[in-house]
């Protein structure tokens, strides 16, 4: 199908014979490519967001690991000894994904501040395409960040198999799509950078702390376990812990993946709708 409106009516020398899928993909690629290039150039962002998870993994991991004994509360099927550091490793991966994805999404406030967003919105590109391009950019960024940490996993004795790698990547991508969508949604509603701190305090940290990244979920008081159940990251942590360490937590692997898929779909839809109603200027 040839899209009439995309005929370069005004460009007699330029012939268009592309389907709307090709056009859409080209534009999606353009937006993704921009995000990727900017990411590669902002080295300080990459270094900073790699350093924080390492701090957690080694300082908190070793620190608490040396004094905490909670194996009685844990129900894991692994034969090998799993220390606290290994236990929180999937949680730290998710932490990296939370920070990278949510921040990436809310960076759209900067795009707006510097009018870049306006220049994209005045192009014949649908809001859905802009949203998806951004979301894929966030997924790429999160995956690269997580990959650096996964390498560190060797150091602390995490064993990967080809199959577990595939699952790990899928889980990270699902989680980061969900959280980038969340960040983009929040960013699209915010007009100034002041709201950014609110996102950090009321979104990023709660998502992280309530996910069970740092503790098992079995023996929590009711109020806390309600909150952890509502946190989509909980299911990401649960799924990752299962494929990396063989620990089955509160929820089955199938449930974890299903909830991740569902939250990706829900937040993706909310994000697209927010982008559609977002004011251009």
């Amino acid at each position: 199908m040839i899209l009439k409106e995309d005929l370069w009516k005004n460009m007699p020398n330029m012939v268009i014979n592309k389907s709307w899928i090709e056009l859409g993909l080209g534009r999606l690629y353009a937006i993704w490519l921009r995000e990727f290039k900017v990411f590669l150039r902002e080295k300080s962002r990459l270094i900073a967001s790699t350093f924080t998870p390492l701090l957690w993994l080694f300082v908190i991991g070793e620190g608490f690991g040396s004094t905490t004994d909670f194996f009685g509360t844990m129900d894991f099927a692994a034969d090998s000894y799993i220390g606290y550091q290994q236990f929180i490793f999937p949680g730290i991966i998710c932490m990296s994904v939370i920070f990278t994805s949510v921040f990436f999404g809310s960076y759209i406030i900067w795009d707006r501040k510097f009018d870049f967003l306006k220049s994209v919105m005045v192009a014949p590109v649908s809001r859905t395409t802009i949203f998806l391009g951004k979301a894929f950019g966030g997924m790429t960024t999160s995956l690269i960040q997580a990959a650096i940490l996964l390498v560190v996993g060797f150091v602390i004795g995490i064993h990967y198999t080809p199959l577990s790698m595939v699952f790990i990547i899928i889980i990270i991508l699902l989680l980061s799509f969900t959280l980038t969508s969340l960040g983009l949604t929040l960013g699209s509603h915010m007009e100034s950078l002041e709201g950014f701190q609110l996102i950090v305090s009321f979104v990023v940290f709660p998502l992280y702390f309530l996910s069970g990244a740092l503790f098992p979920l079995n023996n929590l008081p009711t109020w806390l376990s309600i909150l952890t159940t509502l946190d989509p990251v909980t299911y990401g942590v649960g799924a990752l812990r299962e494929v990396m360490l063989g620990i089955t937590g509160m929820n089955s692997f199938a449930l974890n993946i299903s909830v991740l898929l569902l939250s990706a779909a829900v937040l993706g839809t909310v994000g697209v709708l927010s982008f559609r109603r977002m004011k251009a200027v």
């Binding site: 370069w8 005004n10 012939v15 592309k18 056009l23 353009a30 921009r34 900017v38 510097f114 005045v122």
Partner: protein, 340 residues
């Protein structure tokens, strides 16, 4: 070709655009001239489909801005007031990005990018990150980007805002060249009179959301009648009627006006340089008309602007006596234009 019909825009009971009707012809350079906050940018944004009008509509290249926004977008190029390129990317990469967004066919992409880079004189800086560009270069990159997909209509929103005089002249040169080379319709907004005068075929003067005059620069200036002698009198509260009376005898004096801003008197005359001595002689003899300084100038759009703005205010005041705060605020606002 752009046709704007009965266009209104309101924000919370503030009317930003009030019944705009303009027709811009093909290959024309049309200027929207007005002070900050007059509604120029809002009008551009509406025409570029970034915001929706409250009432009325417009067609751009035959496409309705409300019904066919995506066709409108494909056929226009726009350069915003503030540079909107990504400064982490290079000039070339920004252009590449936009060529993909506008789906410029692959086989023509590179050629077109080199063309526009050449046109705005950025070829040798194309691989530098935009953050290393000067203000003028950024603007030129924006223009290149606006031209990339061969639009038939280009909007330039204050293309020389914040540029130093020499960069501004360079920009004018580029704008003139692109009008010639690219065969486009160009709509530019500005609050620099000389810019509108230099670049535009026709000018719409806009104030408080209303078009108060629309014509070619020459015609607009012609309407002022002759050249202007601006006189400062020793007596700051000089009686205009008195001067008017004593100068009645000269047939070369078209009219006398009081410059509301500083109390100077504007005398519109034919052949000012020859007739100025006569005027001075007459004033010398008259009472209480000691001349402190004299400035002679050909009418500029500046004068045109002040004249139409004043007329507009007078008309408005006639309609609505209560609105007496408008003049004070208005004149303050325009004081800067008189200072040129």
């Amino acid at each position: 070709m752009i046709i704007i019909k009965n266009l209104f825009k309101q924000y919370d009971n503030v009317t930003v655009l009030n019944d705009i009707n303009i027709e811009v012809f093909d290959n024309e350079v049309f200027g929207l001239l007005g002070p900050n906050g007059a509604g120029k940018t809002t009008l551009i944004h509406i025409l570029a489909t970034l915001i929706k009008p409250t009432a009325g509509t417009a067609t751009v290249n035959g496409y309705d801005i409300i019904k066919n926004p995506s066709e409108v977008r494909s056929s226009i190029g726009i350069v915003f007031q503030a540079p909107s390129s990504d400064d982490m990317l290079t000039g070339y990469e920004n252009l590449k990005l936009h060529s993909l967004l506008y789906a410029v066919p692959k086989e023509l992409r590179e050629k077109r990018i080199s063309e526009v880079l050449e046109l705005v004189g950025l070829t040798n800086r194309k691989d530098d990150q935009v953050k290393k560009y000067s203000g003028g270069m950024r603007r030129r990159l924006e223009i290149a980007r606006g031209l990339l997909h061969k639009p038939t209509v280009i909007f330039l929103d204050e293309p020389t805002l914040g540029l130093d005089p020499s960069s501004r002249e360079v920009m004018w040169k580029y704008i003139n060249r692109l009008v010639k080379d690219e065969k486009i319709t160009l709509i530019l907004t500005t609050h620099y009179m000389e810019e509108a005068d230099f670049l535009c075929d026709r000018i719409g003067i806009i104030d408080k959301g209303t078009i108060i005059a629309l014509d070619s620069p020459t015609q607009l200036k012609e309407q002022l009648g002759g050249e202007v002698i601006e006189m400062e009198f020793a007596n700051k509260h000089v009686d205009k009627e008195n001067i008017d009376r004593v100068l009645k005898q000269c047939n070369f004096v078209r009219k006398v006006e009081l410059e509301a801003k500083n109390g100077n008197v504007l005398i519109y005359v034919d052949d000012a340089s020859h007739n100025l001595p006569t005027i001075l002689k007459i004033l010398d003899k008259a009472n209480n008309t000691e001349v402190e300084s004299v400035e002679l100038r050909s009418p500029t759009l500046n004068d045109v602007f002040l004249k139409f703005a004043q007329r507009h205010i007078t008309k408005k005041q006639g309609q609505d006596e209560d609105e007496d705060d408008s003049e004070g605020g208005f004149m303050e606002k325009y004081a800067q234009y008189g200072n040129k």
